[in-house]
């Protein structure tokens, strides 16, 4: 009898508590399906956490998932599909050129759109009202490299390598831009600047040229599959990562590089990285909860900052809707733009500039230790706040 009443009450509550629809747009097929997969799993965990705490405004979140295939065209179709489903809040997507046309559609329809893996600077320079991102920007990472990493090692001869993808080229150009005063003043020297072809499997020629340039520090701004091959083939060529400081971008998770290239090749190499959940568990309670739930369901936590930001986009929405007590994207967007700290997510305090950029993304320098794991280069410097 009691069970029946409980059941009826539960039924009544669940009927009354209409779920809040939140859209997820990501590359579930195509070349970036890995990132889409991680992001979707992370977002699902974040939704479970919010729902376990009673949802938003007493209502559970329900995810609406659409694949954009990692192409601009796929992005517009996924966005239209989400809009047609009546979604008012969207988390997505990975890749700036996919994001650009989709975010225009969200803007026109007044759908609040939080980006998790698009770092192109001008995305937030379009004067949009509904656009936000939980990730950093290309230039914040470049600034971190020039203002923090180069002085840290007292490097003078700088090598920059990219892979001609939108993302890598952007970081490389920003590094040059921030270094320019120092280059002009003769304090630094750019000894190598070139691109490699992604998807290519033999980088010995580029590495030979790198060796001949004899840099103090070598910054690779592309993605991990190529970086891993570069490290492996560089090692085979006899390059020493103690002599040449090898630094990869935040698209180069060390664990993946080690899997591909082996510990001996990656050991001592570093990456400039946005906060990863594994390093945040001691600092933020939500990070701990997130990592625990993720590992219970899907196995070891991924190394992707983007997927982590995707989860934080869900938390941002949850906090902001709860704070404003409103499901109106206009109200929520206005609140987010105020610069207030809406709450503490997996990656620390969540707050946004009037343009929609994340304020104060804590970057970190990670190094691959003897066990092939990533570790903080300097445990004392947990996050160098960039973009405040």
């Amino acid at each position: 009898m009691r069970a029946l009443i409980l059941g009826l009450v539960f039924l009544a509550v669940s009927v009354w508590a209409q779920p809040i629809l939140i859209g997820f747009q990501g590359p579930l097929t195509g070349s970036w399906a890995v990132e889409g997969d991680w992001a979707l799993k992370s977002v699902q965990i974040a939704v479970e956490i919010v729902n376990a705490r009673g949802g938003i405004l007493g209502r559970p979140i329900q995810l609406v998932v659409e694949d954009d295939g990692g192409t601009p065209k796929g992005g517009t179709l996924a966005a239209q599909k989400l809009i047609a489903a009546g979604v008012k809040f969207v988390v997505g997507t990975y890749g700036s050129m996919v994001c650009m046309p989709s975010s225009e559609l969200y803007e026109e329809e007044g759908v609040l759109h939080i980006n998790y893996g698009c770092t192109r600077v001008d995305l937030s320079a379009r004067g949009f009202k509904y656009y936000f991102r939980t990730s950093g920007r290309d230039d914040s990472q470049a600034r971190f490299f020039v203002e923090y990493v180069i002085p840290l090692f007292g490097a003078k001869r700088i090598a920059v390598m990219h892979d001609n993808t939108a993302y890598a080229l952007g970081v490389a150009e920003d590094v040059l831009r921030f270094m320019k005063p120092l280059l002009d003043a003769g304090k630094l020297q750019l000894v190598y600047y070139d691109a490699i072809m992604p998807g290519e499997r033999d980088y010995t020629p580029a590495l030979t040229a790198l060796r001949d340039a004899n840099p103090d520090i070598w910054y690779y701004t592309g993605y991990y599959p190529e970086w891993a091959l570069l490290l492996r083939q560089g090692k085979d060529l006899g390059l020493d990562w103690k002599k040449i400081k090898a630094v990869g971008s935040n698209a180069c998770p060390i664990s993946e590089a080690v899997k591909i290239a082996g510990i001996d090749a990656v050991m001592g190499a570093m990456i400039t990285q946005e906060p990863l959940p594994a390093f945040l568990v001691e600092k933020y309670t939500l990070a701990k909860e997130f990592v625990t739930s993720y590992e219970a369901k899907y196995g070891p936590i991924h190394d992707s900052p983007w997927a982590t930001y995707a989860a934080d986009a869900i938390f941002t929405l949850a906090f902001a809707i709860e704070a404003t007590k409103s499901l109106d994207p206009v109200v929520v967007a206005r609140y987010l733009r105020s610069g207030a700290v809406v709450g503490e997510g997996i990656t620390g305090p969540l707050s946004f500039s009037p343009e929609g950029d994340r304020l104060g993304v804590p970057y970190m320098l990670l190094i691959c230790n003897e066990k092939g794991e990533s570790a903080l280069f300097d445990p004392a410097v947990h996050g160098h706040l960039v973009g405040m």
Partner: protein, 328 residues
């Protein structure tokens, strides 16, 4: 052949054809008024790929030239629009003919030395061409193409004071182009040129012997097909308001190739139908999320399995294919 023979003859009766045409036009015109924005956008992409397919149909369907690099001409049209609009501020719609001209002109320049190649050798050269164009765009010559970042900030087209911005506007823009091109191509199909093209496709040497100017006619087909792709490029650039090289991959060329064959070589309504399939299949399989391309691949193969001559083969094409079946 068994499958080809099934096609009922009443479909070819004139009144039935007109009724069917009228019904199709009524459907296409009324569709955006009862469909959601999502389906309107899907309809837009069907129109866009139909335009691309019609262009390739001239080259592949009418003349039988294997072109697996058609995305290159699409890219040329899109980039012409993007660069001239963003740098010089020329209105996007005014660039429509220019995009076609640039794509067609480039096609003429590039195809002149390779047009004598036959069959699969021409096929690989067009693949190479498609890849070269894409790679050049990525490598950002003279800072024009913006490299992998592409070009952003393309202005919305304005037609007689009306800004074309909503899915509905673009739907009508693209389908107006499709209707215009389909009509023009149908007239061309029935002209001396069209018949000469088909002659070349059936038997090039015999055509040459009969005094058909094979080389010029092949070039004309190439230029015309590329110009249509250039038009599609302009509309695509205006719709996305940005262009980037990752939209113009070899896979896109392959899909266009599929459009022509799914519909039926040389068949204009078939090409439009083929475009509908190529755009709709991945959308229909959305509920299975990451497995949708898996089903898309199967659907492509299955369509060819059940209708090897295409969904809507041209009558003459049917006879041709069936007759050839004995000695492929």
């Amino acid at each position: 052949m068994r499958l080809l023979g099934k096609r009922p003859t009443w479909l070819y009766k004139q009144p039935v054809r007109w009724a069917f045409l009228a019904a199709t036009i009524a459907l296409l015109l009324s569709f955006p008024f009862w469909a959601s924005r999502y389906w309107i956008d899907v309809g837009f992409y069907v129109g866009l790929y139909a335009l691309l397919g019609l262009g390739l149909n001239v080259i592949l369907g009418e003349v039988g030239l294997f072109n697996l690099g058609h995305a290159a001409f699409w890219a040329l049209g899109a980039y012409t629009t993007a660069i001239l609009n963003v740098r010089l501020g020329i209105p996007t719609l005014a660039l429509l003919p220019l995009s076609a001209l640039v794509a067609g002109g480039c096609a003429w320049l590039i195809s002149s030395p390779i047009i004598h190649l036959r069959g699969d050798y021409l096929c690989i050269v067009t693949i190479a061409l498609g890849e070269i164009v894409r790679l050049v765009l990525i490598n950002n010559p003279a800072g024009l193409t913006g490299g992998p970042n592409g070009v952003i900030g393309i202005a919305r087209p304005v037609f007689l004071g009306h800004v074309i911005r909503t899915p509905l506007d673009f739907y009508f823009l693209v389908w107006a182009m499709v209707a215009l091109c389909a009509f023009a191509l149908r007239q061309l199909q029935r002209s001396r040129i069209g018949r000469a093209w088909n002659y070349i496709r059936e038997d090039e040497i015999a055509a040459e012997a009969m005094g058909v100017d094979v080389r010029s006619l092949k070039l004309l087909a190439f230029v015309l097909g590329a110009a249509l792709a250039g038009l599609a490029g302009n509309i695509f650039a205006a719709k996305m308001r940005m262009v980037s090289p990752d939209s113009f991959t070899f896979m896109e060329s392959c899909l266009m190739f599929c459009i022509v064959l799914l519909g039926g070589m040389g068949s204009i309504p078939g090409t439009i139908l083929g475009a509908a399939l190529v755009v709709l299949f991945p959308e229909i399989f959305r509920p299975v999320a990451q497995y949708r391309l898996l089903f898309f691949g199967l659907a492509l193969a299955a369509t060819m399995y059940f209708r090897p001559g295409g969904l809507w083969p041209r009558r003459r094409a049917v006879e041709f294919t069936a007759g050839r079946a004995a000695r492929p």
